[in-house]
C-alpha cells in the first residue's frame, strides 16, 4: 500500500533487532516488578498464599527425605542375632565368634554364652525365681551379636547377609528385625505418593490464584488495553506484561515457600538434635539443598507463567477491538 511509503522506518539490522528484543523483554520485566512494588500489600498477600501452597508439599518432602535418611543411616544400631545350635559348647562358640571376626562385612562381634544369657535374662525379666527352677538345665542358647559394616547395613544388602549367616553350620537361627525398616520404607513410599498428589492439587491452586490475580489486573486495565490496541499493539505486546507479572508472582511465591520451609527446619533443628542425643543417635536434619531449592523456584515460576497464560488467553479475547 502507498501508506507504507510514508510509514516511519526504524533501523532494522539483525543485531539491532536482537538488542531491541532483549531490551523490550527486560523493560517489561522491570515494569512488571515495578507494578508489583506499587501495591506491596496485595503483592505480598498473593505471593504469601502461593508460598504457603508451595511450602506445604516442599516441607513434607523434606520431612520424608529426613525420615528416610534415618532409616538408611541407623548408624551402629543394625544388629543381627545369631542363635547357636544346642550342641555347641562355650569353647566351640568362642571359636565360631573368632571366625566371624575375620569376615570383612562385619565390624563388631560379641559372644554371649549360655550362662551370660541366663544371667542377663534374670536381671532384665524379673523372672529370677521361675528361672531358678532351671538350675540344672539352662534353656537359653548361646548368642552371637554381630554388627555389619555401613555398606552391609543397607536394607537390601542386609537381607542377603542374614540369609548367609543363617546357613552357617553352627547357627540355628539368624535373626534380624528387618520388618520395621521395611515397614518404614513402605510408609515413606506411600507418603511420598501422597505428597505428589497433594503437590498436584496445590499446584492447581497456585494456577487458580495467579490466574485470578491476572484476571483482575486485566479487568482493571481494560481501558488501557483498548487504547493500545487502537494504536497498533499486537496481541503479544499486550500479553507480555501480564505473563511477566504471573512469572514474578510464581517466583516470589517460591521464594516465600523456601523461606517458610527453611525457617521451619531451623526452628525444629535444635530440639531434634537434643532428642536424637537422648537416643545416642547423631542425626542432622537436612535442609532443602541446592537442587530442591532450584526445582522449587522453577516450579513456582512455571506455575505463575502458566496461570497468567491461561488468564490472558481467556480474558484478553473479550477486549478485542475490531
Amino acid at each position: 500500500m502507498r501508506a507504507k511509503a510514508t510509514t516511519p522506518h526504524f533501523e532494522r539490522g539483525p543485531r539491532f533487532q536482537l538488542r531491541a528484543w532483549l531490551l523490550r523483554h527486560l523493560q517489561t520485566l522491570f515494569s512488571a516488578l515495578g507494578e508489583l512494588t506499587r501495591s506491596p500489600l496485595g503483592t505480598a498477600m498473593t505471593a504469601g498464599v502461593i508460598g504457603i501452597a508451595l511450602a506445604l508439599p516442599a516441607g513434607l518432602y523434606v520431612f520424608l527425605d529426613n525420615v528416610q535418611a534415618v532409616g538408611q543411616n541407623w548408624d551402629g544400631k543394625v544388629e543381627i542375632s545369631l542363635f547357636l545350635k544346642d550342641q555347641i559348647d562355650d569353647e566351640a562358640a568362642s571359636r565360631f565368634a573368632l571366625s566371624l571376626h575375620k569376615r570383612s562385612e562385619l565390624r563388631h562381634v560379641q559372644l554371649i554364652t549360655r550362662a551370660e544369657a541366663l544371667e542377663e535374662y534374670r536381671q532384665l525379666s524379673g523372672f529370677a525365681e521361675a528361672l531358678n527352677a532351671f538350675e540344672q538345665e539352662n534353656p537359653l542358647p548361646a548368642l552371637v551379636l554381630v554388627e555389619p559394616t555401613l555398606r552391609y547395613a543397607q536394607p537390601e544388602a542386609i537381607k542377603g547377609l542374614v540369609a548367609e549367616l543363617g546357613r552357617l553350620p553352627a547357627v540355628e537361627l539368624a535373626q534380624f528385625d528387618l520388618e520395621w525398616l521395611q515397614r518404614l520404607h513402605a510408609i515413606i513410599h506411600t507418603l511420598k505418593r501422597g505428597v505428589v498428589v497433594l503437590a498436584a492439587l496445590l499446584a492447581l491452586g497456585v494456577l487458580l490464584i495467579v490466574g485470578n490475580t491476572i484476571r483482575l489486573g486485566i479487568e482493571n486495565r481494560r481501558a488501557e488495553i483498548e487504547i493500545i490496541q487502537l494504536v497498533g499493539a499486537t496481541d503479544a505486546f499486550i500479553r507480555r506484561p501480564f505473563l511477566y507479572t504471573g512469572f514474578c508472582f510464581g517466583l516470589l511465591g517460591a521464594l516465600m515457600a523456601w523461606l517458610l520451609v527453611e525457617g521451619g527446619l531451623w526452628l525444629v533443628r535444635g530440639p531434634l538434635a537434643e532428642l536424637a542425643s537422648l537416643y545416642q543417635a547423631n542425626f542432622l536434619l537436612a535442609s532443602l539443598g541446592l537442587r530442591a531449592s532450584l526445582v522449587l523456584c522453577l516450579m513456582g515460576a512455571l506455575l505463575g507463567l502458566a496461570g497468567s497464560w491461561l488468564a490472558v488467553r481467556r480474558h484478553l479475547r473479550g477486549i478485542e477491538v475490531g
Binding site: 501508506a3 516511519p8 526504524f10 481501558a223 488501557e224
Partner: protein, 218 residues
Amino acid sequence: MIHFDQVSKRYQSGHEALRNVSFRLAAGEMAFLTGHSGAGKTTLLRLVALVERASRGQVLIGGQNLNRLAHRKIPYFRRNIGLVFQDHRLLPERTVFDNVALPLVIAGARHQEIARRVRAALDKVGLLGKERLHPLTLSGGEQQRVGIARAVVNKPPILLADEPTGNLDPELSREIMGLFGSFSNFGVTVLIATHDIELIQRMNTRTLVLSKGCLVDD
C-alpha cells in the same frame, strides 16, 4: 487513499448504520464528515481503522482491501492510522511524554528516536514544556492536543478524528482544526467527524454529509 465502494454496515443488533456509502479521498486531502447524531459518522471512521468490518461493499485503504486483511495483520495496519477521540483516550497513569510515545514504543522504535519524535510532536501542538505532567492535570484543550500529538507521532499517512473539538471553545476549536489543516498540507489524509457546522462553513473544506447511514452530500 481512502476508498469506500458501496459500503454497508449492519450491527449485530440488526441496525443498519451505513447504507451503500461510496466516496474517495485522495492522499493529502482533508475532509469533514458531518450529519445528525446517529447518522453513522463514528461507524464510518471505525470501518477505516478496522475496529469494525463492513457487512457489504469494500473499503480500500492505500489500495489495500480491508475485507482481505488477515486478523493478525490488523495491529500493523493500524500503525498507519492516527486516531483522535473526543474523550482523548489518554492513559491517566502515564506522563504526557509516555502517552505520546506509546505508538513508537509499540512499533519498537529506538530510545533516542522516541525522545526526538515525541518532542517534535509535542512541539507541533505547543505542549513542549508539559511532557512530565500527567494528563489529568491538563485542561481539556491541552489533553486533546496530547491526543493529537500521539496520533501523529509516528507520521501516519492517515489521520482520523472523531469530534475532536466536541467540548472546546470556538477559539480553541479553530486552532485545532488549523493544526489538522497543516498536517494535510504535509501530505497526510485527514478525515474529521464533527457536528460543528459553523466551523465547517468557515473552513471551506470538502464535507461529506451522512443522514441515516446514507451519504447525502459531498
